[in-house]
């Protein structure tokens, strides 16, 4: 596909100044927060290079220079080198896995003298570009199974490598691509089950199989009721199912040798009843019931296998999920989240004032300048400050989605949405984890967390999107030009 771009005289005349301003505000907040988090009151030389915030400022300078250069490059370049970048990224990830440096248990870093880079931060850009290119290829159809498998493969390779690197947190970012896929028209019957099964996976730790099975039966039957508006049949089905299995339980229960639990009887009865339901659906020509039945059977299968799946996770991941769900309350496991919640919670409406946060000062919050940087904002600027920072990020995300919607071809649109998805995922996970909404995953808050490679990578990512936007005409396409 070849596009003709109607460039205006000045490139910067077309730059989305709102987005750029949002970006600049966010990185400034970031430097301020890093300064606060690493502030030592009686430091002798506050401009020494060893200080985190000075390093952060240097990295910000580099990011701005790189960003400006990227704005000057032609967008078609990215389309051309997308696969090449992807291949390089995969090689780099593998190289990291083999020769990398281990930080916090994850072998995900490369070290060049004083500079440490997390490979996945940069690989994300390549993956985003490659996905955008794949999805803008001729013949790609979101509704086609073959196309979806290609996308899945593209994402699964780096995900597998990050798992081996013990850095699944960074890899899981790729899951956020589903947001972009939805926008691109992914069948909603594929979106809902994925989210549903993920939720079910977590719930299966909290409730006993019997409770979960009964809940599943009720949820599915009731949604069936709403979908087909056939109240009578649903009620009859429920009554027959529970009455029948209870009767069988009472009869079989009298035989002591069998010692069958109610759960297994209910499970067997329900699965058998599915045949009847399918026959009914065939006769009544209600096709949505098939999907329901399939989803139900998968859900029922997941419940007992979730423990097996759980065991695939690394112990620290298991602990984080257990802690989050409240299954264990070992204080040494949820210490980070507890301290972070206390720091943020003690901020109140307006916070304790800049550089006044006692938790940050005293190092009570671990990783206070990297993954838990949001605590600094929450404690020192309170609710108002936190919401303000959150609003800035969300506004930038919405702006990127807006850019995507304004793109004239799939490549740019998909790319912008991927960037938005990644930022959204990082924000949700990072902020959610500091306030105890989401299990702990070691991923940074974009533009704000301390870390040069993270800042540079996020900057490159958004500047490419800015460049795509700047190089697209705002007018409606004039097809006559082709």
């Amino acid at each position: 596909m070849e596009y003709r771009h109607e460039k205006k005289e000045s490139l910067f005349g077309n730059v989305d100044w709102v987005a750029l301003l949002l970006y600049l505000l966010l990185v400034s907040v970031g430097v301020a927060a890093v300064l606060s988090a690493s502030w030592v009151e009686d430091s002798e030389n506050i401009f020494a290079f060893s200080h985190n915030y000075i390093k952060q400022i240097v990295w910000l300078g580099i990011s701005l220079v790189v960003g400006t250069v990227l704005m000057l490059l032609d967008r078609s370049l990215w389309h051309k080198i997308a696969y090449f970048l992807y291949g390089t990224a995969i090689l780099a990830l593998v190289a990291t896995l083999l020769f990398g440096r281990t930080v916090n248990g994850a072998k995900a870093w490369f070290e060049f003298g004083p500079i440490r880079l997390q490979t996945m931060e940069f690989a994300k850009i390549a993956i985003a570009l490659a996905t955008a290119r794949l999805m803008s290829e001729y013949g790609f159809a979101i509704s086609s199974f073959r196309s979806l498998v290609k996308v899945a493969l593209l994402l699964l390779v780096p995900l597998a490598i990050t798992y081996l690197q013990n850095d699944t947190g960074s890899g899981l970012v790729l899951c956020s691509f589903i947001f972009m896929l939805y926008r691109e028209g992914l069948n909603r019957w594929l979106c809902i089950p994925i989210i549903f099964i993920a939720a079910l996976f977590l719930l299966s730790f909290l409730f006993s199989p019997t409770v979960l099975l009964v809940a599943l039966i009720l949820v599915f039957t009731i949604s069936e009721m709403f979908a087909n508006r056939n109240w009578r049949n649903s009620v009859i089905y429920l009554a027959a199912l529970f009455g029948g299995s209870t009767a069988i339980f009472l009869v079989l229960g009298t035989i002591p040798a069998l010692s069958i639990s109610y759960y297994s009887i209910l499970l067997a009865t329900t699965l058998l009843s599915m045949i009847g339901v399918c026959v009914y659906a065939y006769r009544a020509r209600l096709r949505n019931i098939y999907i329901m039945v399939l989803l139900f059977v998968v859900s029922v299968m997941i419940t007992p296998t979730s423990n097996a799946l759980f065991n695939v996770m690394k112990p620290h991941q298991q602990n984080r999920i257990k802690t989050f769900l409240g299954i264990t309350d070992d204080p040494s496991l949820n210490y980070n989240v507890r301290q972070s919640k206390i720091a943020i919670g003690s901020g109140g409406l307006f916070g304790k004032g800049y550089l006044q946060g006692s938790h940050i000062r005293y190092g009570l919050v671990p990783e206070k300048h990297t993954d838990f940087i949001f605590c600094t904002i929450g404690e020192e600027f309170g609710f108002v400050g936190s919401i303000l920072v959150l609003t800035l990020i969300i506004a930038l995300i919405l702006r990127l989605m807006h850019m995507g919607d304004n793109q004239r071809e799939a490549f740019g649109r998909v790319y912008c949405y991927i960037v938005a998805s990644i930022l959204l995922f990082h924000t949700l996970i990072n902020v959610g984890m500091t306030i105890g909404l989401i299990p702990v995953m070691g991923i940074p808050l974009p533009f704000i967390s301390y870390g040069g490679s993270s800042l540079l990578a996020f900057s490159i990512m958004v500047f490419i999107a800015f460049a795509f936007d700047a190089q697209t005409t705002r007018e409606l396409p004039t097809y006559s030009k082709f």
């Binding site: 947001f179 939805y182 926008r183 691109e184 028209g185 040494s332 301290q339 919640k341 206390i342 720091a343 943020i344 919670g345 003690s346 901020g347 109140g348 409406l349 006692s358 938790h359 000062r361 005293y362 009570l364 929450g378 309170g382 609710f383 936190s386 919401i387 959150l390 609003t391 969300i394 995300i397 919405l398 989605m401 919607d405 304004n406 793109q407 649109r413 949405y417 959204l424 924000t427 949700l428 902020v431 959610g432 306030i435 105890g436 909404l437 705002r474 409606l476």
Partner: protein, 603 residues
């Protein structure tokens, strides 16, 4: 895709973003604005309550000399989080805190990571603390404590000791908490509430312990000092005299009830039981000692009073009207009637009360005792007479606690009618109990009760409750019970005859001429208590001078033989020391000190 309207998918995507923003904002609002819990937790996170221990009240003797004072020391605690990552000189630290290096490392490994925990069970000295500070290792904190120090090293059982409070004690009294010290036994226990003071609490910023940000929530209040009634020099002399013997010495000022000296022998060096590394071993050694040095014999042990009790029998007889001082009874080497036989030593016969007390005639008091119990005009049967006799004895402070300020005071024992009914299946009479008349049989008295008897005779009929404390800092007076005269049921007029007898015993031709002190008019009564275990117990009660007495004393030496053999010289030397402030018989001191009694029963 145009600008003029969003596709439905793009719209839903924005709704999802909005929902995520909303969820985060709601949660933020909840923990920052609604839930107050976090503010409080926040303070607890970096502020800690530091307990400031008050110095314990000091103990002075009656002349203002220090008996128990405080020594500064330090508790060491650690916070593993603040320790240097690269390690430190564990060998040197282990020397300073007095642990083995292995124990130190183990203790540090097992300590909580962020919470402060105590490193050593025992405090370290000031020198060790300064050396530890000099090393300047992170994660080590010291806090001031005080432990006892005893300049004279006397009065072990009298003063008691201090130990760390036990779990059971904390459960009983929640004003104590783990790590506090509490008095054990003696004065330290009895006046614990006065001596302990009040702990202070300082709210300290963990990360700036020396800063002015520390707020004092409660000032510590130092324990109040106590002036006790003990005369330190007298106490020291008495302890020296009692060395290598088992028994007790109690001396009381009759006009006030103040205890001048209280020795329970064998005693122990109170410095050995000061909180510290050696306390456990020393305590175990003392507790295993068969002579039981930790048992305060002076207030707890039940001894047969022996002949000293004849004084009481005589007084009751006179009050009951069955005895006049001039009544004479004959003594034919004892008292013989029916199957009963109570022997006596060689002395002129017949004899009156004065001489009977002075020579300690057994037969005389057997007659008196029978006359009391078999007084047909008053009592129908001897058992009623016995009950009347018992009431008299109790009024002298026997068979019950004197209510002194020793919490562990024993009651002694005076048998009851029911006791004999049970023992003799109700068939008993005055003859059955005859040995009570001379202080044998089932009678049990504490040395404190015996000294109190001496004080009663000295006062001619009353006593003040014996007590150990003279003055408490900041208090005008003691408990009112110590200022009230406790009268016996015997009128004052009857006492003169007994005093005369006790005076003769020392100054004329009695059993205790060894207690004679020129010009001091010492009065005394010896006792030789038979016992089933071995040699007789040697005992002596005495007071001096005869008129306006200054000191009343009881000495009890287990298996010391005749009363005159051991108890008399000891009491006499103490009286001499107290009344004249010198000792003119150093050879006697040496003799008594060097006199070792073998105690095969304490093995």
């Amino acid at each position: 895709m145009g600008r003029e309207g969003l596709s439905p998918r793009a719209f839903v995507a924005r709704v999802i973003v909005a929902i995520i923003f909303g969820a985060l904002a709601l949660r933020l609002g909840y923990i920052q604005l609604v839930d107050d819990r976090y503010n409080e937790l926040s303070d607890n996170n970096y502020l800690r309550n530091v307990v400031i221990y008050p110095p314990r009240g000091e103990i002075y003797d009656r002349n203002g000399e220090l008996l128990a004072q405080n020594r500064l020391c330090y508790d060491v605690s650690i916070v593993r989080k603040d320790m240097p990552k690269y390690g430190f000189d564990t060998t040197r630290v282990s020397e300073l805190v007095g642990m083995s290096r292995e124990a130190l490392i183990k203790k540090i490994r097992q300590s909580p990571y962020r919470r402060e925990s105590r490193l050593t069970r025992y405090p370290i000295s000031v020198e060790q603390k300064l050396l530890l500070d000099e090393m300047n290792i992170g994660g080590f904190y010291t806090s001031q404590r005080t432990v006892r120090q005893y300049p004279r090293k006397i009065g072990g059982n009298l003063l008691g000791s201090i130990n760390e409070v036990s779990k059971a004690q904390i459960e009983r009294d929640d004003s104590y908490s783990s790590g506090d010290y509490i008095g054990m036994e003696g004065l330290e226990l009895a006046y614990e509430s006065v001596l302990r003071g009040e702990k202070g609490i300082v709210l300290q910023d963990i990360y700036a312990p020396q800063a002015e940000r520390n707020t004092i929530l409660k000032m510590p209040v130092a324990g109040k000092s106590i002036v006790c009634t003990i005369d330190a020099e007298l106490q020291q002399l008495a302890e020296e005299l009692m060395q290598d013997k088992v028994g007790a010495v109690v001396a009381i000022e009759p006009s006030t009830g103040e205890i001048l000296t209280m020795v329970s022998a064998p005693t122990f060096n109170p410095d050995e039981l000061v909180i510290g590394r050696e306390r456990g071993n020393n305590y175990a050694r003392e507790i295993k000692n068969p002579r039981m040095p930790l048992w305060n014999r002076a207030v707890k042990s039940r001894y047969p009073p022996g002949s000293t009790f004849k004084v009481v029998t005589g007084l009751i007889g006179m009050q009951e009207g069955v005895l006049r001082p001039h009544y004479q009874y004959s003594c034919n080497k004892g008292y013989h009637l029916g199957g009963e036989h109570i022997g006596c030593h060689e002395h002129p016969s017949p004899l009156g009360l004065h001489y009977a007390i002075a020579t300690s005639c057994n037969a005389y008091f057997c007659y008196v005792f029978r006359n009391i119990l078999e007084n047909k005009r008053e009592y129908a049967i001897a058992k009623d007479g016995f009950e009347a006799w018992r009431d008299y004895v109790l009024s002298f402070g026997f068979g019950r606690k004197l209510d002194s300020d020793f919490l562990s005071e024993g009651a002694g024992y005076v048998p009851t009618r029911e006791f004999y009914d049970k023992r003799y299946r109700k068939s008993w009479n005055a003859l059955t109990l005859l040995s009570l008349s001379i202080g044998q049989g089932e009678l049990g008295c504490t040395p404190l009760q015996m000294a109190n008897l001496a004080a009663i005779v000295a006062n001619r009929g009353y006593y003040y409750i014996p007590h150990i404390v003279r003055e408490i800092e900041g208090q005008d007076s003691l408990d009112t019970r110590f200022y009230q005269k406790q009268f016996t049921k015997v009128d004052a007029k009857h006492f003169d005859a007994v005093v005369e007898g006790m005076w003769r015993g020392v100054n004329r031709d009695g059993t205790c001429q060894g207690a004679y002190l020129k010009g001091l008019d010492v009065c005394g009564k010896t006792g030789t208590a038979q016992n089933s275990k071995g040699k007789d117990h040697s005992t002596f009660i005495s007071f001096a001078p005869r008129n306006n007495p200054k000191i009343a004393i009881a000495v009890y030496v287990e298996h010391g033989g005749w009363g005159a053999e051991m108890a008399v010289p000891i009491a006499s030397l103490i009286e001499e020391k107290y009344l004249t402030d010198t000792i003119k018989r150093p050879h006697l001191v040496e003799y008594v000190k060097g006199h070792k009694i073998a105690y095969p029963m304490y093995k």
